[in-house]
Amino acid sequence: MSPIGVDEWVARSGDRRQQHSGPLGALSRAYARVNWWQRLLVLAALGVAFGQIGANGFQQIVAFNSVLYAILAVGLNIVVGWAGLLDLGYIAFFGIGAYGYAMFSSHALGSLLTMTGGAELPTIAAVPIVLVFAGLVGMVIGLISLRLGGDYLAIVTLFFGLAFFEFVNNVDQTNLGGNNGIIALLPWHGFGGEIRSTIGYYYVVLIILILLMAALHLLNESRTGRAWRAVRDDELAAEVMTVPVNAVKVMAFSFGAMVAALAGTVFAAQQGNVFPTNFQSPILILIYACLVLGGVGSIGGAVLGGLAVTIVQQMLGSPTDEGYLFYGIILLALFWKVRPWQYLAATLAAIVGFGFAAHAIAGAISRSAIAGPTGSVGWIGSALRHWVVVPVNGETYGNILFVVVVCALIGIIRLRGIVRLVAVVPTIYFAACCWESRLSVDPAITAEIMIGGILVVMMAVRPHGILGTRRVEIV
């Protein structure tokens, strides 16, 4: 390597400017020095370690689900992030995997085949068959998509996802169970043992995830990965540069389908049953939120997004934990964004003071205005009782506050400097009141709104996600 000359120093100034300063910069530089497979080993070790600590049932389910969705996000990343194809029917492949496994591991196929007990294949046979089938379906969808540009592709695949749901819900009730699904599935078994516990399936998906990450990283660095990414960047140029664009697109669909199907088989086995409602649009949007948040085009991003979004969504389902989540995120955002520390302290003090003042005023006006129950339980609830304004019938109040907070947030984006900080104070207080009176009462819906919000906000603010790299596109 020749010593760096002036030209190179100038040429690299852009890279230097992009690097972070301070502890985050040191961290990212250290991260870059480590090999990819070393990072993977660390991740695997962390995963195993987590499995060893005594987690309760709920935490085990959360862990299993987050790794499962990480796998789904990684698979989606192949189609959307690398090949640049907007596949909105991805959920159907997840469903094909789950239903396929269900059909081969239960009594469901009894009437179709002459075997009276249905086809109960050993896992080592069932899973590969399902994967191959999913890959073929992926190819067919890919072939159909060849004619379509980005927008049409999205709609056609969306329809395909819908058609899958309609199919398993309405068609062939005897074999597919209709909306009662297929139950009593065999767990994953083989070599004399079987996996029945959630923690067992956690290890299964962890192993799958680690192997998948390694395999896909190697694939991405190879000619196939370059071909996909070239197709995403400029399809026409790729075609004239020896890349068989159509074959590459079909291959991307196929690979993504197989990954989703694999996740589907584990999902079905862990749950012990499959229902059509497991594969509807909200789940698809959840997977997209995982990928978009974590970083489209990055394996690590997909995993991070999968873990983060699922953990958040599941935490919102638990009344004791949701308060930690909500207030934790707000505090985190404040600590991250408000600098220097004097401003931060002032803002926090202002929020607290504003709240008590509002509470006192509301209480003076009407006793029932503050008599309602807070949504948060435990010590958070009791601490906030005298701070938030929650009327007795808080539903409509909460709804109106929700709209107010959304509008306020939009307004805050347009403001700058001190004015923005001043506006943030009441906004956060109203958000807390809204949370206590309405959102924490219906956390499932709140979770869904949050997920939709992730898509909207990320695309506007940081389209490449947390771990993705900024892209340049010629539009």
Binding site: V156, N399, G452, G453
Partner: protein, 305 residues
């Protein structure tokens, strides 16, 4: 024969609704090259606004104003409300993404659709709300042909849609705003350089398209008698199919496509099976996409290599 005419009537009615929604899709696609997934949910919001409007005026059984006035007020309020919502969505969600890669606004639209569906769920719960139309619009007022009844609601919807579509055609072809819309749809940069206020034109396009969807929502409520937070999803998809079949970006295409899809769905429900109606529409879409991707009236975009 009876069944045939009844099916025809139903098909034209739902077809009118699909046409109105499809118009919004096609207009927005024309100016922004964006498929607004959230459009169907705007339809749903319109239906809800209509529902509450009935309540504001005394409820289905005790109306404080005459029925024709109520219907007109419902349509107006829903159109304005949903139109405004559409403009707000465009302003805050889509405008920052004007020059972003194509995938970004599509994902944003997906997110907004989801947020709208769940926000309505949060505010109003998941229970289906009933317009209770027969209570104030007597279904017995209808034209009878050969034992087939064409209810007054069908006539309202069909006639109303035709009026709105004629109005829209006049707007697009005869007014300056219409010309601006066509210019922006053709080449946004050039339009801007020629002094057309592109932001305002796009906002107006969204307003009109969303207003049409809102009106369609009210009409749907009157016709089907019930509204729930997920009606927008499926209606939106079918209306989108209509827009594509007719040629996305083409206004007459959306109208014809809407009628076509409505009739197809109606006939497949009558003569094939009630369970496969949606799948049938899906099959039509695939067929059109494979055979003539640009639709009936659409034009393939020219790309300079």
């Amino acid at each position: 024969m009876q069944i045939f005419i009844q099916t025809l009537v139903n098909g034209l009615t739902t077809g009118s609704l699909y046409a109105l929604i499809a118009l919004g899709y096609t207009m927005v696609y024309g100016v922004l090259k964006l498929l607004n997934f959230a459009h169907g949910d705007l339809f749903m919001v319109g239906a809800f606004i209509g529902y509450f409007a009935i309540g504001w005026f005394g409820g289905p059984t005790a109306l404080t104003i005459p029925v024709p006035l109520l219907v007109i007020i419902m349509l107006v309020i829903a159109s304005l409300g949903v139109g405004g919502l559409g403009v707000a969505i465009e302003r805050f969600a889509y405008r920052p993404l004007r020059n972003a890669p194509r995938i970004a606004p599509l994902i944003t639209a997906l997110g907004i659709s989801f947020v709208l569906e769940n926000a309505v769920l949060l505010f109003f719960g998941g229970l289906t709300r009933y317009y209770n139309t027969p209570a104030f619009i007597p279904f017995s007022i209808s034209i009878h042909i050969d034992g087939v009844s064409i209810g007054i609601v069908n006539i309202i919807i069909f006639a109303g849609s035709i009026i709105l579509m004629l109005g829209l055609t006049a707007l697009v072809n005869r007014t300056v705003l219409g010309k601006s819309m066509r210019a922006v749809a053709s080449d946004r940069e050039a339009a801007e350089m020629l002094g057309i206020n592109v932001d305002r034109t796009i906002a107006m396009t969204f307003f009109i398209g969303s207003a049409l969807a809102g009106a369609a929502g009210v009409m749907y409520g009157l016709y089907a008698n019930q509204v729930a937070n997920l009606i927008g999803f499926l209606a939106g998809l079918k209306a989108f199919t209509a827009a594509v079949v007719g040629g996305i970006g083409s206004i007459p295409g959306a109208m014809i496509g809407g009628m076509f899809i409505g009739l197809c769905e109606s006939f497949s429900l009558s003569y094939i099976s009630t369970r496969y109606g949606d799948l049938f529409v899906f099959a039509i879409l695939i067929a059109v996409m494979l055979v003539r991707p640009t639709g009936i009236f659409g034009q393939a975009p020219l790309q300079k290599v």
